[in-house]
Amino acid sequence: MATVDVENIRKTFGAQVAVDAVSFEVHPGEIFGLLGPNGAGKTTTIRVVLDIFKPESGRVAVFGGPLTNENKDRIGYMPEERGLYQDQTLERVLYYLAEIKGLSGSEAKRRTQGWLERFDLAEHRRKKVKDLSKGMQQKAQLITTLVHEPELLIVDEPFSGLDPVNTQMVKNILKELAQKGVTIIMCTHQMHQVEEMCDRILLVNKGAGVLYGKLADIRRQFSGHAVNVRTGGPLPDLPGVVERTAQNGTTHLALAEGHTPQQVLADLLKQQVLVEQFEIAVPSLDEIFIEVVSGGKDR
């Protein structure tokens, strides 16, 4: 059973269509990337999933049915619009928000202390939130999202404001949780993070889902129009190559429409070129994102 099952939802605000015909499923133990340019409808989609907004049409099932108040405790949500009580000490805010999530006072303290240690915030626990750095506040925000051990985690830009060390730590935590079976939906603009973390993605553009599926499959769909070649000697002119770019000792060959990588390899062998490396160039998610968003290409 999918943890989250969204089917053909539509949400408008006045004349503006925020989300239209968006469908996706997220399964236990999966890290799912919800991507899209600013204003594409990602946050609206999440708010529909979390029952903040009611869709005009379509269906949303969380944990197998409509979202109930009891099931809200099974969700950890770090929204795009987030913050903490600035005038209070860090530990007081964290205890309070943990109790809001249904933990007893003692359990809230015990678990919060553990997360404070893990996020290197223990020594700052008596400081007022406003006196913490942006990165520290971001880590505190993550603690509020994780402290009640949710089964579904929805995190919007989880790495914003974090330095590389903390980014890696958060990545490790998310991967660890996914391995334990937690379902994770991650909204981000940082494509390299998605490439590293996500199993499947949904790319939303102008309120509609334009790319959906396994990351590897999507990249494969966009591959085949270029190859990367490294040879023992100079690379001769080859038919069907429209552009060649040197990249760290290899050459990136962009192919003409209808010309296949197999034909390029055959030509190289025919010309007895010593081929040290030959691979079909797979586009980065950044490139796919730009191509789809600016070109309006749907798959």
């Binding site: 987030r82 913050g83 309070y96 928000l97």
Partner: protein
């Protein structure tokens, strides 16, 4: 712990331990303390312990006559002089602060002459007045003399026997009116908290986290409960200090309080019927404003829509006192916004019919329910509006997000 109480506790402790709240909590007691202190100071300035003189060659006045305890507290020594010349010499020598000259037939014509350079102390003149009165009453039986010494003991009853007024029932008259003043103070000082009830969570961006964790109703009711606790503490402290100041200050100012003060259950019922729904109404309306606006400063401007008519009602105080049963007084004392201030004043000075109290209480309750409905609508519609406040029209016309 129930999450509503988690929120209520957090809200309560968050405000109660703020310097701003503690300052506000202690401001009224400090003001009252200052007032009592000033009264005491004025009394001390007006007191003079120097002996008085009395020209009474015929020994008409018994100077060692014991007086009631409260009069004895103001005792000053009184020196008897045979002639006015001796008394004047003593006054010039500052041995006495003033002297009285008794007429020869004092018992039948008790008009005395007071001679002084500087006005004598209030305590001294009061003591001499009581002493002469006690002397004049010596011819009466002791119990009648004692009653006469007590002075006026007015007891009034309305024609329908519904209400009666007497010194023992002072609290029945004063407490509701006093509470209406405290109520207004509390509304003014707590308005900021209720206005900021959701605006703060919107400003600090915790609202989305909180409302996806718990139902909006639990969230808002927990916050309201916490803030009611904050205000209740304030009301209790202020009322206790106001009563203490009254009970301490009045005797200091020379107003005698009866030995036994009673408080009728009907007074408590009246206060509960008016102040409880009135408070809930104010809280709900302020909360609705707080939920509809995006910034606390903006909310404070809108709060004046409620606090201003309430405070304006005090300008009608004199009119209500002289015309407590006029159609305007009745209408304003029953109108929800002005009822909490004007109905207790009418209660203090006239016999308010039961139906008017019941109708006022019902009106306040309905207004409170309407306020809660508005607050819930405003919270629901304005939940994720961070930059644009809700329009009043939207509360009645827009469907949920």
């Amino acid at each position: 712990m129930n999450r509503r109480w988690v929120i209520a506790r957090h809200e309560f402790t968050r405000h109660v331990f703020r310097k701003r709240y503690l300052f506000s909590l202690l401001s009224l007691p400090l003001m009252l303390l200052t007032m009592v202190g000033l009264i005491a100071l004025m009394i001390a300035i007006d007191s003079n312990e120097t002996p008085l003189g009395v020209v009474d060659p015929a020994r008409q006045l018994q100077l060692d006559l014991p007086l009631p305890e409260e009069d004895e507290r103001e005792r000053v020594d009184i020196l008897r002089f045979e002639t006015e010349t001796e008394a004047r010499a003593a006054l010039e020598a500052e041995e006495i602060q003033a002297y009285y000259v008794l007429p020869e037939n004092f018992a039948h014509d008790p008009a005395v002459q007071l001679v002084y350079f500087d006005e004598p102390g209030d305590n001294a003149t009061r003591y001499f007045r009581d002493l002469t009165l006690a002397n004049l009453l010596l011819q009466l039986p002791p119990e009648r003399a004692a009653r006469a010494m007590e002075g006026i003991n007015l007891s009034a009853t309305t024609p329908d026997n519904e209400r009666s007024f007497s010194p023992e029932k002072l609290l029945d008259t004063v407490l509701p009116a006093l509470t209406s003043f405290v109520f207004l103070f509390v509304v003014f000082s707590a308005a900021g908290y209720f206005i900021a009830i959701v605006a703060e969570e919107k400003e600090n961006r915790t609202i989305e986290y909180l409302t996806t964790s718990i139902p909006s109703g639990v969230f808002i009711s927990g916050k309201i409960l916490g803030l009611i606790g904050v205000s209740a503490l304030q009301i209790a402290v202020w009322l206790a200090f106001a009563l203490a100041a009254l009970l301490l200050g009045l005797p200091l100012a020379g107003v005698e309080l009866p030995e036994t003060l009673t408080l009728a259950p009907t007074t408590l019922l009246f206060m509960a019927a008016i102040f409880v729904p009135a408070y809930v109404m104010v809280v709900a309306l302020l909360t609705a404003i707080g939920a509809a606006v995006t910034e606390t400063s903006e909310g404070q401007q809108f709060a004046a829509l409620i606090t201003l008519p309430m405070s304006m009602s005090f300008y009608l105080f004199a009119y209500i006192l002289s015309n407590p049963n006029s159609p305007l007084a009745i209408a304003l004392s029953m109108f929800p916004i002005t009822a909490p201030t004007l109905m207790p004043i009418r209660w203090a000075i006239t016999a308010v019919p039961i139906w008017q109290i019941a109708a006022t209480s019902a009106g306040l309750t309905l207004a409170a329910l309407a306020g809660f409905w508005l607050a819930a609508r405003a919270l629901e519609l304005g939940l994720l509006r961070f930059e644009k406040r809700l329009k009043l029209r939207e509360l009645f016309t827009r469907r949920s997000a």
